[in-house]
Amino acid sequence: MNKKSLLQKAVAAPHVMWAVLFIIAPLFFVVYYAFTDKDGNFTFDNIAELAQASYLEIFLRSLCFAFLATVICLIIAYPIAYFMTKASPKTQKILIMLVMLPQWLNFLIRTYSWMALLEDTGIINNLITAVGLDPVHMINTSGAVILGMVYNYLPYMIIPLHSVMSKIDSRLLEAASDLGCSHFKVITRVVFPLSMAGIISGVTMVFVPSISTFYISQKLGGGNFDLIGDTIERQFQTAYNYNLGASMSFVLMIIIMISMAVMSKYSGEDDGGVIV
C-alpha cells in the first residue's frame, strides 16, 4: 500500500522537476545577477544604484500609476459587475463573453489602436475639430498611460467581481431590505463585504500587470514616463546591463510580495480568489 501511494505521488515528479528547473532556478538567477557585478563578484552596488532619486521616482511613479489604474478599474467595474448579476442567466453569459472578447485580440495591437485614437492628429481629435472645437492634447500624457492600463486590464476586474457577486445569495439582499436597509445600504453593508474576495482578486489581477507593464507606457506615454517595466526592459534589450535589470526585477518582486501580503490580510480566504 505504501509503495503504491508513493508511486501515485511520483506521478507529480515531472512537474516538481520542471518547477525546480524552470521556476525556482530562474528566480535564483535573478537574485544572483542582482547581487553580482559584471565579473560575477558579490556586490550591493546594483541595489545601491536604485536608491538614486531618479530611480526612486520611477518606482514611486509606477506604484502611483498602477494604484490609480486599479482604483479606476474598480470604480468602473464594480457597478457593471453588479448590474450584470441582475440580468437573466442567458444575458449574463453573453455579457461575460463580450467582456472577455477583446482580450482575444493581441494587446499590442489594441494599444496601438488607442494611439491612433488619441493622437493630436488622431481620430478623436479629428472628430473634435470637425465639430469646430479646439483639439485636446491626450497622447504622451500620464492620463493616456493610465487609460491604457485601465483599458487593458478592466476585464480582469469585472470577471472576478461578477463571479463572486453572482454567488451572493439573493435572499440575503431581500432580507436586508426587509429589515429596513435602503437600496444604497444593501450595497454597502451586504453586497460589498460579501464581494470582498472578488475585489481582492480583481485588484491583484489589475495591479500586478499594471505596475510591471512596459509596452503601454512606451506607446501611449511616448517614452516620457519611464516605468519600472520600461527600465527593466531597456537593461535587457538595449543597455545590456543584466545586473541592474535583475536588481530592479528583484525589488519589483518584493514590492509585489508586500502588496499581496497586505491585501491577503484583508481577504480572509487565501485560495487565490477566482481564476478566470
Binding site: Q8, A10, V11, A12, P14, H15, W18, F22, P26, F29, V30, S54, E57, F67, K90, K93, L98, L101, Q103, W104, L105, F107, I109, Y112, S113, W114, A116, E119, T121, I123, N140, S142, Y151, L154, R171, L172, E174, A175, D178, P193, L194, I211, S212, Y215, G222, G223, N224, F225, T231, I232, R234, F236, T238, Y242, G245, A246, S249, L252, I256, M260
Partner: protein, 744 residues
C-alpha cells in the same frame, strides 16, 4: 434606475470596443494610414494572404500554442493527480505555492528570470546560441502549468474517492481505474485547462519577447516589431479575421450549450463528448498536418537579422528581395541536383545596441547581420563576426573602390564586411508647421542643429531613442568631437540633452515614420534614407543636412555592412545571400525602396535608378561629396573626409559606460512630469486608510456592544413566526452571515 443601468453598461462596452471598431474600420482603408479613412477597399486582406512573414508567424504561433498546451496539460494533469494524493500538508502546500509563482509574478520578471537561466546555461555550454524555439516552448509550458493544475485539481477533489477504490475492488488495475473511472470525471477540467493554456500561449508577448531566439517569430513578436515602425493595415485585417472567427465560435458554442441544458442530461453528456472529442481530433489533425508539412521537403533556412524597413519587401507591388532570393537559390540548388525549399527567416531590430544585446544574450544562430560601422568594430573586437572569403562573393567587385575598405574594416586582405548602404543623419521637418524664418534659413543652407533646441517647437520635436545617436546630435550641435570626448564633453552633451527633454514629444526609433507622416511631430533628426522614404509618403515634409557657421556639414555619416556572425549555422547560404544582395537587380530594388546611398557601382550608374530618384538623387549623393579636398596632406574625397571625421568609432569601455549611465540618467529624469498624479494618489490613499480605520473602529464598537456583554442576544427563529418560508430562510441566512462576519 434601469435606464441609467443600461446606459452605464453601454458606455463601458463602448469603451471596451472602441479600439476594436477602429481596427476593423481601418482594415478596410484604402490607404495605409491608421488615422484617416480614405475609402473602402479589401486591399489589405489581399496583402495579408501574400505576406508570407505574417502567415509564417501565425503558423509558428499556432504550433507553439498547441505544443505547449499539450505538454503542459499532460504534465499538469499528472501533477494534479500526484499532488492530490499527497498527505503531508507542508509538502503539498509548498508544491502548490511554487506552482503558483508564475501566476503571481509579473510577466516581465518571469520572462527575464528564464532568459537569465538560458543565457547562463548557454554560457556554461560554451557560448553557443541558447535561445530558440526550445526556450520559448519551455517558457510557455512553465507559465501554462499553474493554470492547468488549478483547473484540474478541483475535479480530483470533487471526485468521489470511493469510485476508484470500487474500481480497484472490482479488479481494475490502477492504470485501468485511472483511464476508465477517474479520467472521464476530470475530463472537463483537463479540457478547460488545455483551452486556457492554448489561449494564454497564443496571446503571450512579454515572456516570448525575452526568451525568443533567432529564426523563430511568433505573431505577437511580429506585431511588436511592427508597432515599432508602423502597423500596416494587413495586421488590422488579420486581427479583424481573428476577432470575427472567435465571435462566431463563441456564439455557436453558447447556442449549443444552451440547447444542451434543455434536453435530457444523458443526451447532453453525449453531445459534450462528441464536441470534446472533435476538439481533440481537430487539434491532433492540425498538429499532424504541421508536422507533415514541415517534414515534407528538406528546408534550407537563412536567418537574416536586419534593421527595420531596410529591404525591399514586396509591399505594394515592389520587388520582394527575400522571395526572389528563395526562388533564385532554389533554382541554383536544383541545378546542382538538390531539391530543397529555401526559406529566408527575416527578423528586424531597432538599433545597434539592440542587436548587440541580442547577440550577447545567446540568441545567436543568425546567418547574416547588418550592423553599423562602430558596432562592427565592437563585434570584431569581441570576436562575434567571422572573416569573409571574398572568392565566395564574386559580386563584391560591384562595390565601388572607395567603399571596399572603409575605416572599420581597413585591411584588404582580411575582410569582415561588405558594405550594404551608407548615409548621413539629417533633419526632417514639416513645412506646414515650421516658422517662415526657419524655412528660409533651411533654404539658404544656414540651418543647423540648434533648430532641435528651439523653444517654439516644444512638444513637436522627436529625438533618437538610442544613446549614441542622441548624444551625437548634442555633440555635433556643441561642436564636440564624438569620438574623443572628455568627461567634461560628455557632461556638456548630457546637459544639452537635458535642456531639450522638456521640448521633446517622444524618444523614437522607427516610430518616427508614423509620427512625421501623420503630422503628429514637426522636427526630428534621423537617417537620410528613412527621411526620404517619409517624404515620399507625405509631400509636406522636407529634409536637410545640418551645417555649422562655416557652412560645413557637421553631422554623422554612417555605413551599414553585411557580416556573418561567428556562430552562423549556414555559412555557405549566407555567402550566397550576400552575393545576391549585391546583384544588380536586388541591389537596385533595395536602393530604390529604402532611399539610402548605395556603394554599388551597378546601382549608382544605372540611368533608370537616377531617373527614378529624380531630385532625391542629389540629396542622397550630394555632388559636394565627390569634391576632392586635402586633409593631413592627402587628397581624398569629401565623403572620405566625412567618414574620417564624423563617423562614430567604437568607444573605450569607460566611455561606453559613461555614455550608458548618462543615457540612463536622461531617460529616467522626468522634469516634465507634474505632481498632480501624486496628489490624487495620496488623497485616495488617505481616504482608503480612513475608511479601513473607520470600519475597524466600528467593528470594535459593534463587538463591544453585542458580544462582550454577557447577555448575548439569543435569537430563536421559528418557522411559525413567519408567513412564508422564504422569509424564514432569509432571516436565518442573514443571521448566519452576520455570525460569519463577526468571526472574521
Amino acid at each position: 434606475m434601469k435606464k441609467t443601468r443600461n446606459i452605464y453598461t453601454a458606455l463601458v462596452f463602448i469603451f471596451l470596443y472602441m479600439p476594436i471598431f477602429v481596427l476593423i474600420l481601418y482594415s478596410f482603408n484604402s490607404s495605409n494610414s491608421t488615422s484617416t479613412f480614405e475609402g473602402f477597399s479589401l486591399k489589405w486582406y489581399r496583402e495579408l494572404f501574400s505576406d508570407s512573414a505574417t502567415l509564417d508567424a501565425l503558423k509558428n504561433t499556432l504550433i507553439l500554442a498547441i505544443l505547449s498546451a499539450l505538454i503542459s496539460t499532460v504534465i499538469g494533469t499528472m501533477a494534479a493527480y500526484g499532488i492530490n494524493k499527497m498527505q503531508n500538508k507542508y509538502v503539498k502546500g509548498s508544491v502548490m505555492s511554487v506552482t503558483k509563482i508564475p501566476m503571481m509574478n509579473p510577466e516581465i520578471v518571469t520572462g527575464i528570470s528564464m532568459m537569465l537561466l538560458f543565457v547562463f546555461v548557454g554560457v556554461m555550454l560554451g557560448g553557443k546560441s541558447s535561445l530558440g524555439f526550445g526556450t520559448v516552448l519551455i517558457a510557455h509550458v512553465t507559465f501554462n502549468l499553474p493554470y492547468v493544475i488549478l483547473s484540474v485539481m478541483p475535479k480530483f477533489k470533487q471526485m468521489d474517492k470511493s469510485l476508484p477504490e470500487a474500481a480497484l475492488d472490482l479488479g481494475c488495475t490502477p492504470i485501468q481505474s485511472f483511464f476508465k473511472v477517474e479520467l472521464p470525471q476530470i475530463l472537463p477540467g483537463i479540457i478547460s485547462g488545455l483551452i486556457m493554456a492554448f489561449t494564454l500561449s497564443l496571446d503571450d508577448f512579454v515572456i516570448s519577447y525575452f526568451t525568443i531566439g533567432s529564426g523563430f517569430e511568433t505573431l505577437p513578436i511580429r506585431i511588436y516589431s511592427m508597432t515599432k515602425k508602423r502597423v500596416t493595415p494587413d495586421m488590422y485585417a488579420l486581427s479583424t479575421l481573428i476577432f470575427v472567427s472567435i465571435l462566431i465560435l463563441l456564439l455557436v458554442s453558447n447556442l449549443v450549450s444552451d440547447k444542451n441544458k434543455e434536453k435530457m442530461s444523458k443526451q447532453a453528456k453525449k453531445i459534450t463528448k462528441i464536441v470534446l472529442s472533435s476538439v481533440f481530433a481537430v487539434i491532433a489533425v492540425i498538429t499532424l498536418i504541421v508536422f507533415i508539412a514541415s517534414a515534407g521537403k528538406e528546408t534550407v533556412t537563412v536567418n537574416v537579422y536586419n534593421w527595420g524597413e531596410y529591404i525591399s519587401d514586396g509591399s505594394e507591388d515592389t520587388y520582394n528581395t527575400n522571395l526572389e532570393f528563395e526562388k533564385y537559390y532554389e533554382e541554383k540548388l536544383k541545378a546542382q541536383g538538390k531539391d530543397v525549399d529555401v526559406r529566408v527567416n527575416y527578423t528586424t531590430y531597432a538599433s545597434n545596441e539592440d542587436l548587440y544585446a541580442k547577440l550577447k544574450s545567446g540568441a545567436g544562430g543568425y546567418d547574416i547581420i547588418i550592423p553599423s560601422d562602430y558596432m562592427i568594430e565592437r563585434l570584431k573586437a569581441d570576436g562575434l563576426i567571422q572573416q569573409l572569403d571574398l572568392s565566395k562573393i564574386p559580386n563584391f567587385d560591384n562595390i565601388e573602390e572607395q567603399f571596399r575598405n572603409p575605416f572599420y574594416d581597413k585591411d584588404p586582405n582580411e575582410k569582415y564586411t561588405v558594405m550594404y548602404t551608407y548615409g548621413v543623419i539629417g533633419i526632417i521637418y514639416n513645412k506646414d508647421k515650421l516658422a517662415p524664418a526657419d524655412l528660409e534659413k533651411i533654404e539658404n543652407g544656414e540651418a543647423g542643429w540648434e533648430l532641435l533646441w528651439d523653444e517654439k517647437y516644444k512638444g513637436q520635436i522627436l529625438q533618437f531613442n538610442n544613446a549614441r545617436d542622441a548624444f551625437g546630435t548634442a555633440m555635433y550641435a556643441l561642436g564636440i568631437d564624438v569620438n574623443n570626448a572628455t568627461d567634461e564633453d560628455w557632461q556638456n552633451a548630457y546637459n544639452k540633452l537635458l535642456m531639450q527633454k522638456p521640448l521633446v514629444q517622444s524618444y523614437v526609433m522607427d516610430e518616427i515614420y508614423n509620427k512625421m507622416e501623420s503630422g503628429e511631430a514637426t522636427l526630428a533628426a534621423y537617417y537620410a534614407g528613412d527621411c526620404l522614404s517619409m517624404i515620399a509618403n507625405n509631400e509636406s515634409l522636407g529634409f536637410f543636412y545640418p551645417k555649422n557657421e562655416n557652412g560645413e556639414y557637421v553631422t554623422n555619416i554612417f555605413a551599414d555592412a553585411m557580416c556573418i556572425p561567428k556562430d552562423a549555422q549556414n555559412v555557405e547560404h549566407a555567402y550566397e545571400y550576400i552575393n545576391f544582395m549585391l546583384s544588380p537587380e536586388a541591389a537596385r530594388a533595395n536602393a530604390e525602396y529604402i532611399y539610402y546611398a548605395s556603394p554599388n557601382s551597378v546601382v549608382i550608374n544605372n540611368e533608370d535608378y537616377i531617373d527614378y530618384l529624380g531630385e532625391d538623387y542629389d540629396l542622397i549623393y550630394d555632388p559636394d561629396f565627390n569634391n576632392l579636398i586635402t586633409a593631413n596632406g592627402e587628397e581624398i574625397t569629401y565623403i572620405e573626409y566625412m567618414f574620417n571625421t564624423y563617423a562614430y568609432r567604437d568607444l573605450s569601455d569607460e566611455s561606453r559606460a559613461k555614455l550608458n549611465s548618462l543615457w540612463e540618467g536622461l531617460k529616467v529624469d522626468s522634469a516634465s512630469f507634474g505632481s498632480g498624479i501624486y496628489i490624487i494618489c495620496a488623497v485616495i490613499l488617505v481616504l482608503l486608510i480612513g475608511f479601513i480605520v473607520y470600519k475597524y473602529i466600528e467593528r470594535r464598537r459593534h463587538r463591544r456592544l453585542y458580544w462582550n456583554n454577557a447577555a448575548q442576544p439569543k435569537v430563536v427563529v421559528s418557522r411559525n413566526d413567519f408567513n412564508s418560508t422564504a422569509m424564514y430562510d432569509a432571516v436565518k441566512a442573514e443571521l448566519e452571515a452576520t455570525k460569519e462576519n463577526e468571526k472574521k
